[in-house]
């Protein structure tokens, strides 16, 4: 792959889109020495195209910024950003004709010198939908690059672990959490204007810095993301306390796929899986079944 060529192609595309007035802004990433990896930027002038960058540390999912900007927006999106975008389209949170997707081929990103969270399970180096393609050699065609998902099979782990082992893993992560909610802020599927955890007016949703609140926050969030999480791992990447609950989300992804045959982030026209039903839906685990 050639990150310099990809960066140049991205800058040229941004310059053209803004100069010709095709879009009002371009969402991308820019070098940030203070944090040590590129961070999000929204550019509105063609002169700023040079601020955009594409390198091996571009692991941040920027799809969430489509929800915080208006007008016609271009976005430099890799495969996982596009999965998030497809979910947002399926949930009617974005209009397809307002979004211009610059598809960036991505061979897997690096964070802190190691493969970034999520890249181990990535099904494809190529974004699912795009309006412009920038292949890994900087050309306008995607190169033939195979991805081999090799991450943990959570269902298998679940079946082979005792309740005590599962509880230990869960509580070990829960106890690290400081309830800062950065994971929610970074998540492209957590776009509620009034998140349940902020609704302190409801007395039964009491928020304390205790274990019960942390359990309630994380399990409820996992429920809200069922059938909507695309395994981009934005939450894990931003957590300053190193909380790693990705396996819960993956476990649900596997369950939803096995039970309802649904994969999130593939079809922008699909009806969200938790917003549909069939008369034959599984009742495994129900009483007397």
């Amino acid at each position: 792959m050639d990150y310099t060529a990809q960066t140049n192609a991205l800058r040229a595309a941004a310059d053209k889109l803004l100069s010709e007035g095709t879009v009002d802004c371009v969402i991308g990433l820019t070098p940030n020495e203070a944090v040590g990896f590129p961070t999000p930027i929204v550019i509105r002038n063609p002169e700023d195209a040079g601020k955009l960058v594409w390198d091996e540390n571009c692991f941040t999912n920027i799809a969430v910024y489509l929800l915080r900007t208006t007008g016609r927006r271009a976005i430099a999106a890799k495969a996982c950003d596009v999965r998030s975008i497809i979910n947002l389209l399926a949930e009617n949170q974005l209009k397809r004709d307002e979004i211009y997707i610059i598809g960036m081929q991505c061979p897997g990103m690096i964070k802190d010198g190691e493969p970034a969270p999520g890249c181990d399970q990535c099904p494809s180096s190529v974004p699912g939908i795009s309006d412009l393609t920038i292949g890994s050699d900087g050309s306008d065609t995607y190169q033939d690059e195979k991805m081999e998902p090799h991450g943990e099979n959570v269902t298998e782990w679940m079946e082979n672990s005792t309740d005590a082992e599962k509880k230990e893993r869960f509580l070990k992560e829960i106890d690290k959490c400081i309830l800062c909610f950065t994971c929610r802020q970074a998540c492209p599927a957590c776009y509620c204007t009034a998140c349940f955890i902020d609704r302190k007016a409801d007395p039964w949703r009491q928020i304390d810095a205790d274990r019960a609140t942390k359990i309630a926050f994380h399990l409820t969030r996992a429920m809200h993301l069922a059938g909507r999480c695309t395994d981009c791992c934005a939450c894990e990447k931003v957590c300053a306390s190193g909380v790693n609950l990705r396996y819960l989300y993956r476990g649900i992804i596997e369950f939803v796929s096995d039970t309802y045959g649904f994969t999130t982030g593939v079809d922008p026209d699909a009806r969200p899986v938790m917003n549909s039903f069939t008369s034959e839906d599984s009742e495994t685990g129900f009483l007397g079944r």
Binding site: F170, D210, L248, D281, G285
Partner: protein, 143 residues
């Protein structure tokens, strides 16, 4: 966990019942003088589809020993499809709780109609026995 379980211990089972069927079924069990263990604490809801999964999570996180949810049979929901959405939600929730180490025998879902007092009693007995076998829920509440 299992040492301090004795047969006298009665678990506390938070029970969500749909107003239109299961709640009436429970009522019928009462007026028919059917006996069942005093383990359930009933919360009446308008429909199984009204049960926010957070209610169940909150009950478990705050230390309830078990949860029982019962609504109208599929096809009989008074709001047409509330229980159909609930069915998927409950299936996913159960998997999520299992992943987190909460034994799947603590959380139960079933369908009971207004005339099925006997199946309501059977469900309460079965769930009480299952939760009693697991012993108290030591997950939440405590630091």
């Amino acid at each position: 966990m299992s040492e301090n379980v004795n047969t006298e211990w009665t678990p506390r089972i938070v029970t969500f019942l749909c107003n239109w069927c299961s709640y009436a079924g429970a009522d019928l069990a009462g007026t028919s003088r059917l006996q069942y263990p005093p383990s359930i604490r009933v919360i009446r809801v308008p429909c199984s589809g009204r049960i926010n999964p957070q209610y169940i999570i909150k009950a478990i996180a705050d230390g309830a020993d078990g949860v029982l949810v019962s609504g109208c049979h599929p096809g009989d929901c008074h709001y047409l499809a509330g229980n159909m959405y609930a069915r998927r939600r409950f299936a996913v929730l159960k998997r999520l709780l299992t992943l987190a180490g909460i034994n799947s025998d603590r959380v139960h879902f079933t369908w009971v109609s207004a005339s099925e007092a006997e199946s309501f009693v059977r469900a309460v007995k079965e769930v009480t026995e299952k939760v009693r076998a697991l012993g108290p829920n030591d997950l939440g509440g405590m630091e």
